[in-house]
Symmetry: none
Subunit: 186 residues, 4 copies
């Protein structure tokens, strides 16, 4: 494994376990099996490391989120597929998910990044636009819609992570999706 990746992996693990402020950079380098200087050779500051990690996690989510969505026949099916992709991402990479949530409320995140909400949802944004045009989605401020769907989905990931058994059940998953779907469908 590349040095940068070793550092990123160690950082992700420790940040999720202990939080940003409770994780000294010295511990990260130790966990990564590199010298303290090496971390700073690759990332100029701790803050930069955190932001790099954010991008790293974000990329994975974005890559998975839209997978197979446009193969689905109906708008609802497309939506369901997207939702499943996101939930699956959370279940498969729980540390990515946790890191994400932590990052969103930390003071490490720049005002700009935070304001854009979950920027990576630009694909999702476009998707809802189509639904709105087809009058399948309630008429409403797209920003509100997006942030609602995001926070609902994230909350559901948290729920499933705390109750892995529930995630196994197609019924509960359907319940969860319906909660989301009913909130904004026309």
């Amino acid at each position: 494994m590349e040095t940068k990746e070793k550092i990123l992996t160690a950082a992700l693990k420790l940040f999720v376990e202990k939080g940003f402020n409770e994780t000294p950079t010295s511990l990260i380098s130790k966990e990564a099996g590199v010298a303290t200087g090496t971390l700073f050779h690759h990332y100029q500051t701790k803050e930069q490391l955190i932001n790099s990690l954010y991008l790293h996690c974000k990329e994975r989510l974005v890559r998975l989120m839209m997978e197979g969505v446009y193969d689905q026949p109906s708008f609802r099916a497309k939506m369901k597929r997207m939702w499943e992709n996101i939930i699956r991402w959370g279940m498969r990479y729980p540390m990515d998910y946790q890191f994400f949530m932590q990052f969103s409320y930390s003071s490490y995140i720049s005002e700009k990044t935070h304001d854009q909400g979950f920027m990576m949802f630009s694909d999702m944004n476009r998707f809802f636009q189509e639904g709105t045009n087809l009058e399948l989605v309630k008429k409403m401020d797209p920003e509100l819609l997006l942030s609602m769907v995001s926070s609902m989905t994230m909350t559901q990931i948290q729920y499933f992570l705390q109750h892995p058994g529930k995630y196994e059940s197609a019924d509960v998953r359907d319940q969860a999706f319906n909660l989301l779907w009913d909130s904004f469908r026309n």
Copy 2:
């Protein structure tokens, strides 16, 4: 103003402005106009101060949340009233709201507290139980329901705080409430 209150007020302001870890206790005492020792005379540790502040904010929310709810004729009207109470709390005490969100994701919060979701919603929990019994609410895990409603409402407060104009419009408020209501009503 009492010394303890001066400290709490200063702490709330600074925590919201800068975050927990970026706010030294020395700055809090300075802002409160007391000596560094005085803070620790009233609160044994920084963590304890944060938790006291949490209780302080929570009390205000709990006090307001159920106001007039049971004066409403229907379940929907009761729900709307409760929702309005919470949103109004967020608009009137934005720092309380922000502190709350910060606290929820911080490592200062104990595992237990965090797991209960937003604990202060025990009143709300009881309320939904009634709705479920009357079959006005979808049959589902109460924990999921509660955390969904909580996170949706909190997300809406954030939205209204960022767009105060929208909060003025009864239409947009109705839109927002309907999003919530439609998600779980039977």
Copy 3:
């Protein structure tokens, strides 16, 4: 001894012994017998400590320099007295002298302070003005005159510190003073 004074004394000793960069603040606090935090309680940064020390030393020199000068009958006698005062200062407080020289060439000193040359010689400046008016001193740029006299005197202090025996001899002292005096007298 006051805490601040203990720190100043320790710093002076170590800076002279080892230089600024070779003297960690931790060593200074250790030598002063205080905790590392205490140093930073009184001086915000290492740089500020160094500058405070500079002012401290400077004050002593300024206080001694003009002592008894205006009791002397002639301009030459006045000059001699001033020169003796400065040399005596260097001999009595060699660490002050060494610190001074170090400071003058360090990058800790601000451009402004450095440009003014040895600012504390404002009294001396006035004194030379009088001599120039009486045509006892060569006509020349006062800035050049001042910096020449300063550097000559400082060089002589260094010489006497390296050869304490020479300082004992009134003859050598006279030789040294004459070197100075002859350079600028009319």
Copy 4:
């Protein structure tokens, strides 16, 4: 340009601009356009680099200092020529001059080197010996004489560097030289 020379040039520039301790070797190699390892390939340590640079600068001064001196008819003219050579060196290679001064007061310089005063003045030393023998120079400790002349000359270079206009004027140059000459001539 040779690698070694590129490094020396970069080092000189940076040391003068920022000081020894404020100039990381990494910055030197960057400025020189070589890899960090390359610097240490040519100079074992930073200290050695500094000392090499010192020798480099010193050579240039020594080469220029005595130029044409012995072509002059009188002792005074010889002295004047030597003085002019040194001042011209300072004006033409201001970075060499500044580096020199910095080096003299740094802790990088060995006790021995420092004690000898400005070692490169051995030629000058011999020259004054002749003047003393001819009774053209005051009888005094040669060490004192040498260090006085050195420091006076260096101070004058500084003066001229800060006021380049003054250096243009033959009058001011004469004034300056006379200051020096009158101090030690018999």
